[in-house]
């Protein structure tokens, strides 16, 4: 009962809104709204009315369109980039130095003995067409050879290329067609003949030839493949032992004015370069097994990288030449991205679908780490063993010829596969904070001829405690790493369009076309609510009328003109006609016919417009 009463009361209160019909409501709204157009619609003549109506409509649609544009711009999550350049105290980058040759050859010799002998024979085969066969073949270990033999493809007759194993004279006839031919490869040189590596699956059913246009490349590749095979079976500790020890590699060190020594370097085992030494890494010693010797270069290879990132020396490293002083000016190039939804990047790699294998080495995510992990992942899936250049996931084993005889075929197949690369590139995301080191490299001969003698003497004594000079110009490198005058360049992203920008532009547009504000929108909302109310009331009245079967209209006059309605709402004291109100009983005095010429005084109007009345009166007097 109480609730109903309260509701009724509320209903009544709401009914006292701006009007009782739609028309009234609209007129009231137009007259009282703060947006600029609607008022004009009602207070002008018919021609202007139409014009203003069209203008208001046009502007309202313009505002809506522009708002759409702005919201779309905002939702495109653009970024603006700020670039700062200057000098500040920076963390010195971690410096990884490796010998370009991974192992001390003297120590690795026993392992590579068979391979080297084979290599020598291969070279002889290629270079000297008529070797003394008997003595060359005796001690060779053909188990290695048969895994991935080098073959000579004679293309002198392009229609029938003749494939011939380099050692096919020794009984192992892999290829039927080649076996019968009477040794044409013996007299064959570069343009006619190509070296290729034959890679076969386990039972030798499917073979591919990896062609090389140059014998140098073929031999190097072949040697690398075989050597890694050998090293993959050697325990990690032994490999580390074969590498260069820190005290032999780092002879003297200065950081600023502070002396430092090889003890300040962290050893890390890198498969391609053996023992590498990282200065300023601040991590516990970690090792990565496996190797890939390719000792063509003399000198050292170094890479600058951020602390807590893994040094990808093969991709990012640079050479320092033996017998020179290499000065490296460093500029730190930092990139800071906003992350989702602004740019597709990852903060720590946790949202990338690939397991970061380098995380075990306490390093942060980087895209190189992701790509390598991805490759290893594919390798394990298709070849069921891991490549030794990359870290192993738990429970997996590295590939070698004994256990996985067809891994080489599988590996080269995978490496050439475009699909694998595309998938990896699509799966890996960039990291949001990225640091690159831009280097300016300059070189000078070192040591100078004048100082050569004493420098070698001192260094030899320090290293080997011998008075003999054990070092030579080709064995030492001096590195200077310093910051350039401007040592950092930061590219930082920030949101181009923030919510403040959006609001101020929305406000600007609304204000520009219609002079509106948020309050106008609230006004509009209010009107809509009123509209709904009126509809409800009408519906209620209609249903009531239906129930009482009384279909007569509340009044039978012509509808009130706009002008009257205007007057009704600009002048609060003005009541044009009581019949407009459905609650006629609220005005009982209106029932009696009004006395013409003397309406009841309405003092409200007097108080409301003092200026106007004065003026109109004076004008009336003048007339």
């Amino acid at each position: 009962m109480q609730v109903r009463k309260y509701l009724l009361k509320g209903l009544h209160r709401l009914q006292k809104g701006p009007g009782y019909t739609y028309k009234e409501l609209l007129v009231w709204y137009c007259n009282n709204t703060n947006t600029h157009g609607p008022k004009r619609i009602i207070c002008e003549g018919p021609k202007k009315k139409t014009m203003w109506f069209l203008i208001t409509l046009l502007f309202a649609s313009l505002v809506c369109w522009q708002w759409g544009v702005f919201i779309k711009t905002y939702l495109s999550w653009d970024v603006s980039v700020s670039l700062s350049l200057g000098f500040k105290t920076m963390d010195f980058p971690a410096v990884t130095v490796c010998n370009a040759s991974p192992f001390q050859y003297s120590k690795a010799k026993p392992l590579l003995k068979d391979l080297d002998a084979l290599m020598k024979a291969v070279l002889e085969r290629i270079l000297a067409p008529e070797p003394s066969r008997a003595n060359a073949t005796g001690a060779l270990n053909f188990t290695i050879w048969n895994q991935a033999p080098l073959v000579l493809i004679n293309e002198q007759d392009p229609r029938h290329p003749v494939v011939q194993d380099l050692f096919d004279l020794f009984g192992s006839n892999h290829n039927g067609s080649a076996g019968g031919s009477p040794v044409p490869g013996r007299t064959c040189t570069a343009p006619g003949c190509k070296l290729a590596m034959r890679l076969c699956t386990l039972n030798g059913t499917v073979c591919t030839f990896r062609n090389f246009t140059s014998a140098t490349r073929a031999v190097t590749e072949w040697y690398g493949l075989q050597a890694t095979n050998i090293f993959a079976q050697v325990p990690r500790q032994e490999l580390v032992q074969m590498g260069y020890p820190g005290e032999h590699m780092i002879l003297a060190c200065m950081f600023g004015t502070e002396p430092c020594s090889y003890r300040n370097f962290t050893r890390i085992f890198y498969p391609d370069y053996g023992n590498c030494y990282v200065f300023n890494w601040g991590m516990t010693e970690k090792a990565l097994p496996s190797a890939n010797p390719g000792a063509e270069f003399a000198g050292a290879r170094l890479v600058l990288h951020e602390q807590r990132t893994y040094p990808f020396i093969k991709e990012e490293g640079i050479y320092a030449m033996a017998g020179t002083e290499t000065s490296i000016g460093v500029l730190v190039d930092k990139l800071q991205r906003m992350g989702e939804p602004y740019s597709p990047c990852t903060m720590n790699g946790s949202d990338v679908a690939i397991r970061n294998l380098y995380r075990d080495y306490n390093t942060t995510y980087s895209i190189q780490a992701c790509l390598h992990s991805c490759f290893q992942d594919h390798m394990i899936r298709s070849c069921s063993c891991g490549h030794y250049t990359y870290p192993l996931p738990p429970g997996e084993r590295y590939c070698n010829n004994q256990d996985f005889p067809d891994w080489a075929y599988c590996y080269f197949d995978l490496r050439m596969s475009v699909v694998q690369r595309e998938t990896c590139i699509n799966m890996c995301k960039e990291s949001c904070n990225d640091t690159q080191y831009k280097m300016t490299i300059s070189m000078a001969d070192w040591p100078s001829e004048a100082s050569e003698d004493w420098i070698f003497h001192v260094l030899s004594q320090e290293r080997d405690q011998s008075t003999n000079i054990t070092l030579s110009r080709t064995g030492i490198v001096k590195l200077n790493i310093y910051f350039q005058e401007f040592n950092y360049r930061t590219i930082e992203e920030s949101a181009a369009n923030n919510i403040v920008w959006l609001l101020s532009n929305l406000g600007g547009q609304f204000g520009f076309w219609m002079g509106g504000s948020v309050l106008c929108l609230i006004e509009f909302g209010e009107i809509i609510i009123d509209f709904v109310w009126i509809t409800i009331i009408k519906l209620v009245a209609f249903s009531k009328g239906l129930r009482q079967k009384r279909a007569q209209a509340p009044y039978t006059g012509p509808p009130p003109t706009v002008a009257e309605l205007v007057e009704a709402h600009t002048n609060f004291g003005f009541q044009p006609d009581a019949n407009l109100s459905p609650h006629a009983e609220a005005h009982p005095e209106e029932q009696t016919p009004p006395i013409p010429g003397t309406p009841p005084p309405n003092y409200d109007s007097l108080r409301l417009q003092p200026l106007d009345t004065v003026q109109s009166d004076s004008e009336g007097d003048a007339a």
Binding site: H36, K39, R40, E44, G45, P46, T50, I55, T73, V79, S80, V81, S101, L123, L127, A190, P191, T213, S214, T216, A295, E296, F297, G299, R301, E315, E316, Y319, M321, A322, G323, L371, R415, I425, K429, K438, M443, L506, G508, Q509, F510, G511, F512, M514, G515, G516, G557, A563, V566, N571, N579, G597, P599, N602, D612, T613, S616, D617, G620, A623
Partner: protein
């Protein structure tokens, strides 16, 4: 009546064209100020007291001025750009790589052409510096045995004599060959010495270039070092000789791809010389471009690191080097876009023999906005210089084309180191005896920006740039040298019938360090939406105005204002006419006024309340004898017959 006319009549009836409602300008102003939505104006009217009104007038005017100023600033700064730098990780197109031997032609092949020139050069060296090639290499032994002039008059020294300048004798030079002293007119150009002051040695060497038949107006070039002088002098003659050799012959004299490229390896796959396209450069001979989109595909890399880049071993045949033309050994490498012309002489990277040069690349791509934001050009079609190169437009191409065109215009022949424009020939003595003088003069003008080339040519809007990090290592290492050289010799096969030497080879690695592409992009800082919303912000901030207000202002101040004035004038004219005509109908002026008054055309358009208030009582209306007090203003508004009728109809029930 036709339906069109009907509609017209209806429109005319429903939407009659009428003048402004206000009778006078003062009324109009008042009405405007009271009813406008802009703030400030109302204050002027409402305020009491002169000072306050004045203050409000000032405030309003200041606000208007501020709006105009700020909006002008917004408009002027509309064409600004904002720069954004983006770094993407993606599969990258490998650039085109052009590799040249520094020495253009095999010395054994061009020796016949250059025999006379070389002999004279040697002779000049002997006479000037006492250099003789007694202990020089064997291969030139045969010629160098007779460096004496042998009685014949040398032809090259005769055309451009080398001169020796003595510091003591200003303005005098000695022709070293004839020994004859000659007077040198004032126009001495010291190469490089106008930039920096080099310690002047006692003796400087130079040469003099004169217009064909006018020896008084010669330009003399001196060099701080004899090395430069001899080389420059040699180069001039060399260009002369080579300009007369047909292109096919030149290509044959230079190195073939099979000779230059010993091995090639790209992205883990072998490649061969067929993957390289020949490009003949006038000063570098045969150059070879890798990945030049010859079969419409551009190679790309999807992995960073040296393993996945281009690895080549080059054969630099040092024995075939020209001793006077080039003094360094090695190769030149240029990394460029596929459709770009390789300006190898300007921007190449030199690589050393017996070394492995590893070049790590970083790609930066730049996009600029063209007109009206900046002066750059998209493809050069709007630059008034004909592109004589068979390549996409670039600033350098434009500059060289401009120079070459000017050269053909002024000197009548084309310079040798740039392509030929249509209907032109390369310069040589036989046809253009004084082209060198002309060329030097023109080049001087070009460098000093007197040829307008620099102002005419515009930069391109988009360009790719590869930042290179170059590092060197000795190669091959001592232990691997032996077998490596042997296998490489085998690789070369019949190409060369000799054992390769370490100093004949150079190894080159070109790779992307990582696949991060940096793009620097310009984008418009302002769009039309932002501009409008800024306008809106300004208008709203100062006056709470909008476009509606602006339309209002236009309506009130430009349409109503003038129509009121016009009406006034018309009335005055009519009055004057009536007075002149005599008084046929004295009621006319008030009637006119009444007719003109908008409130009287009430048949369709009902008066607004405000306008009704300002109405003078209509002439025909009877003012009631005992007018009620103030509130009868309401009734005044209804004093029109039509409206009364309406009211009565409403009141009836």
């Amino acid at each position: 009546m036709a339906p069109g006319e009907k509609i017209k009549a209806k429109i005319k009836k429903n939407l009659p064209v009428r003048g402004p409602q206000a009778p006078t300008i003062k009324d109009l102003m008042h009405w405007y100020c009271m009813n406008t939505n802009t703030h400030g104006c109302r204050r002027i009217v409402v305020s009491r007291g002169r000072l306050r009104r004045l203050l409000w007038i000032l405030c309003t005017l200041t606000a208007v001025a501020l709006i105009i100023w700020q909006c002008a600033l917004l408009v002027f700064s509309f064409y600004t750009v904002s720069v954004s730098i983006k770094v993407h990780f993606q599969k990258l197109d490998f650039p085109a790589v052009t590799i040249c031997n520094i020495n253009p032609y095999k010395y054994s092949a061009v020796r016949d052409l250059l025999a006379d020139l070389d002999q004279e050069t040697r002779g000049a060296l002997k006479t000037l510096y006492g250099f003789s090639e007694v202990k020089s290499r064997k291969r030139r032994g045969a010629e160098s045995e007779n460096p004496a002039w042998g009685g014949i008059r040398p032809k090259f020294l005769n055309v451009i004599p080398l001169l020796v300048f003595n510091e003591k004798e200003k303005g005098k030079a000695r022709d070293f060959f004839t020994g004859r002293k000659r007077k040198v007119s004032g126009n001495i150009i010291h190469k490089a010495s106008n930039v920096m002051h080099i310690h002047e040695s006692k003796k400087t060497v130079g040469f003099q270039l004169c217009p064909s038949n006018d020896t008084t107006n010669c330009a003399t070039y001196t060099f701080s070092s004899g090395v430069n002088a001899i080389q420059e002098w040699y180069k001039l003659h060399y260009m002369n000789i080579m300009a007369q050799v047909p292109l096919e012959k030149k290509i044959n004299m230079s190195y073939s791809a099979e000779e230059l490229l010993v091995t090639c390896f790209f992205d883990g796959m072998s490649c061969n010389p067929r993957n390289f396209t020949l490009f003949h450069h006038p000063m570098y001979g045969n150059c070879y471009t890798f990945n030049n989109r010859e079969n419409e595909t551009t190679l790309s890399t999807s992995m960073g690191g040296s393993e996945y880049g281009l690895q080549v071993i080059l054969y630099i045949d040092e024995e075939e080097y020209n001793p006077f033309l080039v003094s360094s050994t090695g190769a030149k490498v240029l990394i460029h876009q596929q459709n770009e012309y390789p300006f190898i002489e300007d921007v190449g990277t030199e690589i050393e023999t017996a070394m492995s040069t590893s070049i790590g690349m970083h790609l930066t791509e730049s996009f600029k906005l063209s007109e009206p934001y900046s002066q750059c050009t998209e493809d050069g079609h709007d630059v008034p210089v004909e592109n004589i190169y068979n390549a996409a437009y670039s600033l350098q191409i434009c500059l060289y084309s401009c120079f070459q065109t000017k050269m053909v215009e002024k000197c009548g022949c084309a310079q040798y180191s740039q392509p030929l424009p249509p209907n032109a020939n390369y310069c040589n003595y036989q046809q253009n005896p004084n082209w060198m003088y002309c060329y030097y003069k023109l080049y001087q003008a070009f460098v000093q920006e007197e040829l307008d080339c620099q102002s005419v040519c515009r930069e391109t809007c988009r360009f790719k740039e590869w930042t290179l990090t170059t590092s060197l290592a000795q190669w091959p290492s001592e232990v691997s040298e032996k077998w490596l050289l042997r296998v490489l010799t085998w690789d070369q096969g019949q190409q060369i019938n000799k054992k390769l030497n370490k100093t004949d080879l150079a190894k080159l690695l070109i790779f992307y360090k990582d696949l991060n592409q940096r793009s620097i992009m310009e984008s418009p800082a302002n769009s039309i939406e932002v501009l409008l919303s800024n306008f809106g912000g300004q208008l709203g901030l100062w006056m709470s105005c909008s476009v509606v207000c602006v339309i209002e202002i236009i309506e009130v101040f430009f349409i109503d204002f003038f129509s009121i004035i016009a009406r006034r004038q018309w009335q005055k004219a009519k009055e004057w006419w009536a007075r002149n005509q005599g008084p046929p109908c004295p009621e006319a002026p008030p009637g006119q006024l009444g007719q003109d008054h908008p409130a009287l055309h009430v048949d369709e358009d009902l008066p607004t309340f405000t306008s009704a208030l300002q109405l003078p009582p209509a002439p025909g209306v009877q003012v009631p004898g005992t007018p009620p007090p103030r509130y009868n203003t309401l009734h005044l508004a209804r004093a029109f017959s039509s409206q009364l009728a309406d009211t009565q109809v409403l009141d009836e029930p």
